[in-house]
């Protein structure tokens, strides 16, 4: 082959090899693990057990519990990130002094590792010494310290706040970028037609934002479902497993229950369940590709 014909393959191959190494092999490996007995405390039993691991995972308590926790967390987190992103984007798109200021700092939390944002927020929400409690007490909003992280509902909320702080900025920046390409003439037209603020937003802004918003929603859903760092540093899954989302469960299955067979079966089930999401994701990319 001529160098010119080799060129595409030569440039794509390095990337393809790395990605394939960490995609194809893990899948095969997981498949193998998942149909064998593999508990670290019984190092000699590695019998073929068929679908037993799958059955045990699905009928086990943790699976449904963590699915539920994951769904609750993801729903709250995605909605919050989208609203925060949209609100901030609309603010940033104004010609205001405040917008200019906000513009400088908006991306800052995005640069901060999730682990660190978890550490910071856990310390802020601390039930005994947190600064939030301190501020609320000084301003007289509460009479005594509130143990935010000891109640299932508030513990989830704390995690969502930390998540939004870290994930929101990216959504804002994406949405601002989308807002900036809306032709101003459309607003003028809407104005002439007598449309109010809300109608202009509803019929001009929103349709333009739709593809980007879709992308943000899908991306954020996947990020929220895959959350692990926040749980690790903020709650350790507690209280009462309220924040034990699926990533934490997979970690527990491997590092605390030492059951690799279960871990692998869980991985594959998760993969299949994510297929629905994958389809949506793919379709979004296809739409992109077509333009």
């Amino acid at each position: 082959m001529t160098p010119e014909r080799c060129y595409p393959y030569a440039t794509v191959l390095p990337v393809l090899v790395v990605v394939a190494l960490f995609t194809v092999y893990p899948l095969l490996y997981s498949a193998h693990l998942s149909v064998h007995e593999n508990v670290l405390t019984r190092p000699l039993d590695h019998d073929f057990v068929g679908l037993q691991n799958f059955r045990e995972v699905v009928t086990g308590y943790y699976f449904w519990r963590s699915l539920w926790s994951t769904a609750v967390f993801a729903a709250m987190a995605v909605a919050a990130v989208a609203l925060y992103g949209l609100g901030t984007a609309l603010l940033l798109n104004q010609a205001l002094l405040g917008s200019a200021l906000l513009n400088v700092v908006v991306l800052l939390p995005w640069a901060i590792p999730t682990v660190i944002s978890g550490i910071i927020w856990r310390w802020i929400f601390d039930g005994d010494y947190g600064v939030l409690n301190g501020l609320l007490l000084v301003t007289g909003v509460v009479k005594r310290y509130v143990p935010w992280m000891s109640q299932p509902f508030t513990a989830r909320l704390c995690m969502v706040v930390a998540h939004v702080w870290k994930q929101g900025p990216l959504a804002s920046v994406f949405l601002v970028a989308a807002l900036q390409v809306i032709p101003p003439a459309l607003y003028d037209a809407a104005h002439i037609d007598g449309a109010g603020r809300w109608r202009a937003f509803r019929f001009v802004t929103l349709p333009y934002l739709k593809p980007t918003l879709g992308l943000v929603l899908i991306y954020e859903t996947i990020v929220a479902i895959a959350t692990f760092d926040l749980v690790y540093v903020m709650t350790g899954g507690g209280p009462a497993d309220a924040t034990a989302i699926i990533g934490w469960y997979a970690y527990t299955e491997i590092f605390r229950f030492l059951n690799l067979g279960h871990g692998a079966a869980l991985a594959l089930i998760l993969g299949v369940m994510l297929l629905g999401l994958v389809m949506i994701y793919l379709r979004a990319f296809r739409a992109e590709d077509a333009t």
Binding site: T41, P43, Y61, D128, S150, T235, G238, P239, A240
Partner: protein, 442 residues
Amino acid sequence: MIHLTRARRLSVLALALTLLLAGDPPPAHAQGGPVTLNLVSWSYGVEIVRDNVAKFQQRYPGVTVNYSDFSWGTYHDAMVARFVGRTPTDVLYASDHWLQEWAAAGWIIPIDEPFPQVRQYLAEYSPFVREALTYKGRIYGTPYYADTFIFVYNADHLQRAGISAPPSTLEELTRQAEAIKAKGIAEFPIVLGWGQQDPFSIESFTSLVFAQRNGSLFDKDFNPVFKTPGSAADKVVTWAADALGGKKIMSPTSLQAANLDQIRSLQSGAATFGIVPSYTLAVLNDPGQTQLAGKFKIALMPGETRATVGFIRFYAISAQVPRRGKDAMTAAWSFLDYFGGKIDGEYRITKRWSLDKGLGFAQTALFADKEIRAAFGKWADVDMLQKQAQLARAKDGMTPYYGTWDVYSRAELHKAYLGQQKPAETLANMARKWEELKAKEK
């Protein structure tokens, strides 16, 4: 044109960076002497460990110790990763929670076969220590410290509430806490270290169970007896749920608290009662740390039997050592003997921990040691400590799957405490999980 060359230079630089920076530094465990021992511990008294290590190296000039420490709450997971990844690990801290799990997985080795001299120490240990150090008839280490869970109270609070003696049963504890709350002395008089992340939490819970009538979780054949209605566990869980959600005499932070949070609550006078490993009392009564020093007293665990959990943390040898050969084994044993055994006829390191930090010991005879009595006397009623230690039992249900059950149970118990499910449901779930794990063990 400037642009073009700059772009090229940048891309060459980028490539060079990738290749250059990706090289790794030499491994951290480079040989410093004939034998290097990698020591791993959880983070506690790190400066004392370092000092002990330095003294050990002076005595054994051929051995170099490479030391790292991890947080207590994530120690188990960190060690699992090390064992599975075969990260150089030779001597390590271990706990009776995980002894059987790690032994069954082949990560730590029994030491009484290669080093039968370890047996000379056994007779000196409390019975619960002997039991907790043994798996399938073999001994797995030498003690770092052995301690008991004790019930502590703020005597000042009791006096102000007009209470003359600490509670001797759970019912009395409830009444006293209600009185203290009613007088406005403490909003939540009881604080426990029941955070889901703290391995102490199951021991603190078990202590309360042991103190009640028929206080056991398992029978001799490892059948769960806690699920029967009216069992000791049933009583404790029901009491805790009521104290937390009903009477509001237990601090809600108990469910996030680790041992240290409990200390802070008691030290600040925010709470009156706690259940802690006994060395914690040394911290509570340390005048350098709190104005309330001296106010904290020990009482026997409230319940009919007054029993409690005695636990052992010990030095173990990892399965990597025999593979490294005879010299490494000898060095590892020297370490275990130096740290957990006698040096020149004396338990020097054990005593140091007791004198400096108030840590308990496996060797019952040390209760008679003058220095220790004097040191402990500064922060506790030593006779009372000894009395509670004599009533201590090893945790029951010690099996390779105890660790798994422990993690599962911590969350189940939380649900009952928070009122999300009935105590009976929690206990039934815990029993079901146990049976499931037991059935697999064959």
